[in-house]
C-alpha cells in the first residue's frame, strides 16, 4: 500500500514521469493562457466605469489567487520533508519559495498599475489586501534568504520546512490583523475591488481560464526547476550518469 508513496518520493521516478508529461503540460499552458489573453484583450467589453483598464484584472486576479497557494504548498512539502524525510518534497519546496516571491511581486505590480488608473494612486495603505500581500512577499523572501544562508543542504531543507510551516500560519494571522487594523482604524477603502468585476459572465470566464492557465504555468515552472534540482543533487547517481552518457 505504501509502495506508491515511496515511489512518489524517488527523484528518478519523478524525472522519468515528468519527461513524459512535460510536453503536454507546456502545450496546455500555452493554449489556455493564449486563449485567455486573446479573449481578454480583444473580446472583453470595456467596463462602463473603468474602461479598458479592467482587462488588467484578468491577469491580476489570476496571479494573486495563485500566489496564495505557495505557503500551503510549501508547508505541505515541508511537513513531508520533516516527517518522511522525502528528498523530492524539498526539491519542490526549494524553488517554490522564489517562485512564490515572484508571483507576489507580479501581483503587487499589476495591482499597482491597475490602481494607478482606477484609484488614482499606485499604493494605498488603507487596502488590507495590498498590505498583507506585501508581507507575504517579505515572508517568502525570508524563506529564500534562509535557504541561501545555510550551506548544508539537509539542514537547509529542514530549517526551511519549519519556517514554511510557521510562515503559513503567520500569513493567516497577518491577513486578519491587517484587516482588523483597517476596519477598526479607518473607513473602508475608497474603491472596492468588486465594483469592476461583479458583472458579466465574459469577465469571469476569461478570469477563470487565466487562473487555470496560471496554475498550469506554475506547475510547468515548478516541474522544470525541480528537474533541474534533481539533476544537480543526484549528479553522482548512476541513473543520471547513464542518462547523460546516452545523450552524448
Amino acid at each position: 500500500m505504501w509502495l506508491w508513496f515511496a515511489k512518489l518520493g524517488s527523484p528518478k521516478w519523478f524525472y522519468e514521469l515528468s519527461t513524459k508529461w512535460l510536453p503536454w503540460l507546456v502545450v496546455a499552458t500555452v493554449l489556455v493562457i493564449g486563449t485567455a489573453t486573446v479573449w481578454a484583450l480583444l473580446f472583453l467589453p470595456p467596463d462602463y466605469q473603468q474602461g479598458y483598464t479592467s482587462r488588467i484584472l484578468v491577469v491580476h486576479v489570476a496571479v494573486a489567487g495563485t500566489s496564495l497557494a505557495f505557503f500551503p504548498l510549501m508547508a505541505v512539502a515541508g511537513t513531508i520533508t520533516l516527517v518522511w524525510k522525502m528528498k523530492l518534497a524539498d526539491m519542490v519546496a526549494k524553488n517554490a519559495a522564489a517562485l512564490g516571491a515572484w508571483f507576489s511581486f507580479i501581483t503587487l505590480a499589476t495591482g499597482s498599475i491597475w490602481g494607478s488608473v482606477s484609484w488614482g494612486t499606485w499604493w494605498e495603505w488603507s487596502d488590507s489586501r495590498l498590505v498583507s500581500m506585501l508581507f507575504q512577499f517579505f515572508l517568502l523572501l525570508g524563506v529564500v534568504s534562509l535557504r541561501s544562508a545555510l550551506e548544508d543542504t539537509d539542514k537547509a531543507a529542514k530549517a526551511c520546512a519549519l519556517l514554511s510551516i510557521v510562515g503559513c500560519i503567520n500569513v493567516v494571522i497577518i491577513k486578519y490583523s491587517v484587516e482588523w487594523w483597517n476596519t477598526l482604524h479607518q473607513p473602508a477603502s475608497p474603491v472596492s475591488l468588486q465594483s469592476g468585476s461583479a458583472n458579466g459572465p465574459e469577465f469571469w470566464i476569461a478570469t477563470a481560464l487565466m487562473i487555470l492557465g496560471v496554475y498550469l504555468f506554475l506547475s510547468v515552472s515548478l516541474i522544470l526547476s525541480t528537474r533541474n534540482e534533481i539533476l544537480q543533487r543526484e549528479r553522482r547517481a548512476l541513473w543520471v550518469k547513464e542518462m547523460i552518457a546516452a545523450e552524448q
Binding site: F138, K155, K158, V178
Partner: protein, 231 residues
C-alpha cells in the same frame, strides 16, 4: 551549576536553566545594556529628525516606541543561543532527558527578564519625552508587558534556525520582522485608542491571545529548530 547528584525533576531543571542564564546575563552585561541603550537612543533621534513640537510627537509616539522595541529586541535576540552554541552547552541541553520545551522556555524567560522587562519599565519615561498623553502610559506599559515576551518567543524560532551561521545579523531581521506585524499592529492600536480616550481592552485581549498562542507553540518550534541546527 548543573552538577546535581540525583536526577533532577523537570521543574528543577527548568529553574536551574533559568538561574544559569540570568547569572550569565549579569556577568556579560554588554549583551543587555547595548540593546537597551540602542532603544533609548533611537527614540531620542525621532524628535531631532521630525519635529520638537509636542503635538506632532504625540501623534507618532506610540509607533516610534513600538518600532524601537522591535528593533532593539532584534538586536538582543542575537545573543539568545549564540554563547551556548559556541561553548557547546547547547548540545548538553539537547541531550538532557527533560523535555526541551521547558528548557527553551526557561531560556526565553530569562532572556525576556533581562532584555524585555527593562524596556517595559523605562517606557513611561520615554513616552513622557515623546509627549504621549499621560492617560495612555498604563496602556503602553501593559501592551509592552504582553507584547515583548511574544516578540522574544517568535524571535527565538528564527534565532534557533540560524544559530549555526557565522554572520547572521540581517537575516534574523529579515525573517523575524514580518512575523512581528500583528504584535506591532495591536500594540500601537491599543495605545492610540487610549490616547484618544477610547477603550483599548479589545486590542489587549488580542495581544494576550497572541502571547498565549506563541507561549504554547513557539518553544516547541524553537526546540525543533535547535535540533535541526545542532545536528
Amino acid at each position: 551549576m548543573l552538577s546535581v547528584a540525583v536526577k533532577p525533576s523537570t521543574r528543577s531543571a527548568f529553574m536551574l536553566t533559568l538561574k544559569r542564564d540570568l547569572l550569565i546575563a549579569f556577568k556579560r552585561k554588554n549583551d543587555i545594556v547595548n540593546p537597551f541603550m540602542f532603544f533609548v537612543i533611537v527614540i531620542s533621534l525621532f524628535p531631532l529628525a521630525i519635529s520638537p513640537e509636542g503635538e506632532r510627537l504625540a501623534e507618532i509616539a506610540a509607533g516610534v516606541i513600538w518600532i524601537a522595541v522591535l528593533l532593539s529586541a532584534m538586536l538582543s535576540m542575537d545573543s539568545l543561543y549564540r554563547g551556548d552554541f559556541e561553548d557547546g552547552s547547547l548540545e548538553i541541553l539537547l541531550l538532557s532527558p527533560h523535555p526541551l520545551f521547558f528548557l527553551v522556555l526557561a531560556k526565553n524567560i530569562a532572556h525576556w527578564l533581562v532584555s524585555g522587562l527593562p524596556v517595559v519599565i523605562a517606557s513611561p519615561l520615554l513616552a513622557y519625552m515623546l509627549k504621549l498623553p499621560s492617560e495612555s502610559y498604563a496602556t503602553l506599559m501593559l501592551t509592552l508587558l504582553v507584547g515583548t515576551p511574544t516578540l522574544s518567543l517568535i524571535g527565538s524560532i528564527a534565532v534557533a534556525l540560524t544559530v549555526g551561521l557565522g554572520s547572521r545579523g540581517l537575516i534574523l531581521a529579515v525573517i523575524t520582522l514580518p512575523f512581528s506585524v500583528p504584535v506591532l499592529i495591536f500594540g500601537t492600536l491599543a495605545v492610540q485608542a487610549s490616547a484618544s480616550g477610547l477603550p483599548s481592552g479589545g486590542y489587549l485581549t488580542l495581544l494576550l491571545a497572541l502571547l498565549a498562542g506563541s507561549l504554547s507553540l513557539a518553544p516547541l518550534t524553537s526546540a525543533a529548530a535547535l535540533r535541526i541546527s545542532v545536528s
